[in-house]
């Protein structure tokens, strides 16, 4: 079945290290995207039409552009055109953060504008101060709406990191290809075993996160 190649030399360790690279890029990007997205999402709820238009445009651009195109633009564009020397990893983190911030900000905007005015008013009417209203009434509702959605975004970011091999980063999928190449003669069936293992690794990384999201969604459904 081609699983044997995994046990040759350090192959399996190399696959794990590849997964590590993918996870590292996505987790750093997530860590950047969440705070930036929250700030931008709050800015997006403004009534100012110019700010609204600009943020809307940013969101649309990010959504329309395939992530791979963004990766090429930032990696090759920056190094060739602007003469800035970006490592492939930095370029990927920039692209994924650019994307993640946009998606996150839209989630935050949706959660914020989805809280009915009456929630603020009935809290004020009970004598709660604006700060108490945010802390005990508004923010808990926002968090409940946001967490399952942002977890979903995180798993999408982890999966999409498989694109970074296109700019030369040796992540899990690339390691897989290298192993298959190196063993083409000795085990011609390696492709199946290796890709099945890669699938399993992604599954192991994302499944618990998506279970957590489903659990929270159930628990908090209003």
């Amino acid at each position: 079945m081609g699983f044997d190649v995994l046990f040759k030399g350090t192959n399996f360790i190399r696959l794990l290290a590849g997964l590590g690279v993918a996870l590292k890029i996505s987790l750093i990007s997530v860590a950047i995207s969440i705070p930036l997205g929250i700030i931008l999402g709050m800015i997006m709820t403004t009534k100012n039409v110019v700010i609204k238009a600009v943020t809307r445009l940013y969101l649309e651009i990010v959504r329309i552009m395939p992530q791979m195109v963004l990766l090429f633009i930032v990696f090759f564009g920056a190094t060739r055109a602007l003469g800035i020397n970006l490592s492939a990893e930095t370029a990927s983190i920039i692209v994924f953060s650019f994307w993640g911030t946009a998606e996150m900000s839209d989630l935050v905007r949706g959660a914020l504008t989805g809280i009915p005015v009456i929630q603020y008013e009935s809290s004020f009417a009970l004598g709660l101060s604006p700060l108490q209203t945010y802390v005990y009434v508004i923010i808990p509702q926002i968090v409940r709406r946001m967490i399952p959605l942002s977890i979903n975004l995180i798993t999408r970011m982890i999966k999409t990191t498989s694109l970074v091999m296109m700019i030369g980063i040796v992540e899990v999928l690339k390691v897989g290809q290298q192993i298959i190449e190196a063993n083409r003669k000795s085990s011609p069936n390696a492709a199946f075993g290796v890709f099945a293992t890669v699938f399993l690794l992604y599954f192991l990384a994302c499944y618990p996160i998506s279970c957590l999201s489903k659990y929270l969604e159930k628990k908090w459904e209003n």
Binding site: Q119, E121, S122, F124, G127, Q141
Partner: protein, 246 residues
């Protein structure tokens, strides 16, 4: 009887639109005032001005001897003295029924949690909802939610309770259970300002009824004066809209 709420020359405008025009009203402790009037005449706005959800352009509001209409600090300090229940269900969806009720006394009045919970359970029992204490608002019917909203306001021991068409969004069969609670509050001497379209209920519960039209108090009187001897044509017309025979 002593005066608990006094409204003097209150005017409220939204930009160019004058919604309330020179309103004067005095409410004594224990009095139940019902406010009626055609839709859009400014009833909700009036109640919202009283607890500071809307700012006012002219006049003053004096609650329990303190002018609450001028600075935000005095308003914030006195807000817990005016309870309000809205037309739309406004319970906090992420909190259980018990937590909905106990939030304000614990956080605003800094009261002891155990004590507040005991009191909350007694009040919930009184409105027949003790068994729902651990449920979430989404698990309750509209009438049940409004009864909880009343309890949530009551537990703050407000000097005045404002009720803005609290049965208007309910299915007809649930109206009664909510109005019964309000009637029992009136009987035990709560001071209330009630906006409602339920005329029979108004007659039963009110000490005084005021009719607002075009942002002004057009007529004011006891229920029998009001329904049996309306003085103005505008009130007569308004009352006619509630009967089918022409």
């Amino acid at each position: 009887m002593s005066e608990i709420l006094s409204v003097k020359n209150l005017s409220k405008r939204f930009d160019d639109l004058t919604v309330l025009d020179n309103i004067n009203l005095s409410v004594n402790e224990g009095e139940v005032v019902v406010i009626v009037g055609p839709s859009g005449c400014g009833k909700s706005t009036f109640l919202r001005c009283l607890n500071g959800l809307e700012d006012i352009q002219d006049g003053e509001i004096i609650l329990d001897g303190e002018n609450i209409s001028h600075d935000k600090k005095t308003l914030q300090k006195n807000r817990e003295k005016i309870g309000m229940v809205f037309q739309s269900y406004d319970l906090f969806p992420h909190k259980t029924i018990l937590d909905n009720v106990t939030l304000a006394p614990i956080k605003v009045k800094k009261r002891n949690k155990k004590e507040v919970e005991q009191e909350a359970l007694a009040l919930l029992e009184r409105v027949g909802l003790l068994s729902k204490k651990d449920n979430y608002p989404r698990q309750l019917s509209g009438g049940q939610k409004q009864r909880v909203a009343i309890v949530r306001a009551l537990i703050m021991q407000p000097k005045v309770l404002l009720l803005d068409e609290i049965t208007a969004a309910l299915d007809p069969e649930m109206v009664h259970e909510v109005l019964d609670v309000v009637l029992s509050l009136a009987k035990e001497g709560r001071t209330m300002l009630i906006v409602t379209h339920e005329m029979q209920f108004a007659r039963a519960v009110a000490d005084k009824i005021i009719f607002i039209d075009g942002g002004k108090i057009v007529e004011e009187g006891t229920p029998s004066e009001f329904f049996d001897n309306p003085k103005t044509d505008r009130l007569k017309k308004f009352l006619q809209t509630f009967s089918y025979n022409k």
